[in-house]
């Protein structure tokens, strides 16, 4: 099957007074129609910036996509004009965000906010858009949809607002839904409901999902394929079974070990020593080397390439990549 989205060597840098921050520094991945891709990593690893780059919503200045190619449906998004890009946003690619409490405009009714996208992209009149809007609200499981379309966001709970966001995002039948930490701000029960809803709608509408999260439980539940990011780069990619079965990169291993486990009793959770590097001073060589338990000399000198290690698996680590001439 052809790829729906193909990101090649994406570099998004931020130009600040203190220097250049390479928030995304050469990221490659691809996504097939109807597939769910999980992007995992700690805060500041560049996962949200990657998604904002796909939407071309990086605030400029200070941010800028300096290099790369984002091919969506055979078009390179980075060479499109702003007007062409607007036709894709909200229509072919839609997005939901982390904070449902603040992601809806407080002064407009939820109906008008959902209808806005429908009227813009599907060229429906107000009446038809309203019907479509009510249909979408029903679809995302909001009770009494016809009555609450004229309510304002503050009248809804966090979980309900996220449902509204999902209704808004899916109202134009996008081919790709970018979900940036969609359940992080919600409590666990609501989290499960929202994930269930996303899964169900994905099946129904055959939407590809790019799921950004730091929650490994969420990706395990949702994703077909996972990429792990660290300091602006992909360090490992694998399908969901392989990754959880046998993680290769020491960072992925560390992440999985630091998760609480029902089969294991421990007083303390394991941690990855150290902290995320300062984006202005990423260590030379492999960015993970100061925190890596298996660090070797070469890790401090040279950045390992992201190399295939059989099947769809790729890893960026000298432990798995033999450098020619190295021991």
């Amino acid at each position: 099957m052809k790829n729906l989205l193909e990101v090649k060597n994406l570099r998004t840098h931020f130009y600040t007074e203190d220097g250049i921050i390479p928030a995304v520094d050469g990221v490659d991945f691809s996504l097939k129609p109807g597939q769910t891709l999980g992007i995992v990593g700690e805060s500041g690893c560049g996962k949200s910036i990657t998604s904002m780059s796909v939407m071309r919503l990086i605030p400029n200045p200070p941010g800028k996509i300096v290099d790369g190619q984002i091919t969506f449906d055979d078009r390179n998004l980075l060479t499109l004009s702003e007007a062409e890009m607007r036709k894709i946003r909200g229509n072919d690619i839609a997005m939901i965000f982390q904070e449902p409490m603040t992601s809806l405009n407080p002064v407009f009714t939820i109906g008008s906010q959902i209808m806005e996208a429908i009227m813009l992209h599907q060229k429906l009149d107000k009446k038809a858009a309203r019907e479509k809007c009510i249909e979408m609200l029903n679809l995302v499981g909001i009770p009494r949809a016809a009555e609450i379309v004229d309510d304002y966001p503050h009248q809804f709970s966090g979980g309900m607002r996220q449902r509204v966001m999902i209704a808004m995002a899916l109202s134009c039948n996008p081919k790709l839904l970018i979900a940036d930490e969609p359940t992080t701000a919600l409590d666990v029960t609501i989290q499960a409901q929202i994930l269930e809803l996303m899964k169900e709608l994905k099946e129904k509408l055959n939407t590809a999902i790019m799921l950004i999260t730091h929650d490994l439980g969420v990706v395990a539940e949702m994703a077909d394929y996972i990429i792990v990011m660290y300091a602006g780069r992909v360090v490992e990619e694998a399908n969901v079974y392989d990754l959880f079965e046998a993680p290769k990169h020491p960072y992925t291993v560390g992440l999985l070990n630091s998760k609480p486990n029902l089969q294991r009793t421990a007083d303390r959770l394991e941690v990855i020593p150290g902290s995320v590097p300062n984006p202005l001073a990423i260590p030379p060589g492999c960015a993970f080397n100061p925190r890596c338990p298996h660090v070797m000399d070469i890790c401090r000198e040279e950045m390992p390439p992201l190399e295939s290690i059989g099947g769809e698996r790729k890893v960026r680590c000298w432990l798995h990549t033999k450098k020619e001439g190295a021991k």
């Binding site: 919503l57 607007r86 229509n91 405009n105 407080p106 992209h121 503050h154 966001m165």
Partner: protein, 321 residues
Amino acid sequence: MGKYIIRRLIQQIPILIGVSILLFTIFHFAPGNPLASLFSDPNMTPEQIQQLQEAYGFDRPAYEQYFDWLTNMLRGNFGRSIQLRQPVSVLIQERMWTTFQLAFGSLFLSLLIAIPIGVISATKQYSIFDYAGTIFALMGISIPSFFFALLMIRFFGIHLKWLPISGAQSPGIIYAFPYNIIDRARHMILPLAVLGLTGAGSLMRYTRSSMLEVIRQDYIRTARAKGLKEKVVIYKHALRNALIPVITLLGFSLPTLFSGAVIIEIMFVWPGMGRMQFNSVIQRDYPLLLGINMFLALLTLTGNLLADISYAFVDPRIRYD
């Protein structure tokens, strides 16, 4: 909403009574009285002075004078101006409209300048336009309005002779229909420009900072992610939110517009309330002075009430019930 407005209106009664006590006390404790200039006349005999005092009731205890004033006011009688020998209510009504013209004209002009510049300054933060706007705003805030008025008079009135510099219309000439309006408009330009431009400064800074805060909000990102045009994002989604705090400022500025124009009305010999207010202070014209100040107090309360009501219209999170 209706209940809320009625409740607020009822609340205003004790406030106004409190204000009336304060005003009366302050003015009566201030040295001098409306007859002071007559007393210094060497031809006045003590008997005549006594007679005059009694005629105006100034010899009676202050609280009696207060209650007289208050009960008369409740009957709609604000007393007569000592200097102008006319009922205070008539005087205020006569002058109110010329001041209204100036006040609302300048407010409108301020908004017309401040809001677009504030919005563009915020969306293009740290651009040349933003810096120019900031300099303009700081000039508006820091140049005293009387000095700015003098500059305008000097340049447009005396040097270029483009515009009249005093009064609300040309004296002694009666123009036919369209020309009388044009004549009045020409007289308004300079005082309007001075008040409007000096007022625009702070309003512009206010709009800018409010807008800067709003365009960083998550829902602005949502609006962009929908594929909306940047214009719709800014002027529909952001501006509506950014104007909420500006409305408070407008509510408070209603009374300031009236009293704040005093200096400008004097400089341009504008026949409004400001000049009358100034003269009433100089002459210690108690009935007029108190009448005008009560009017301003009522205006302050009305401004606040209007701001609160309009809040509910622009911000659905605010409901009064």
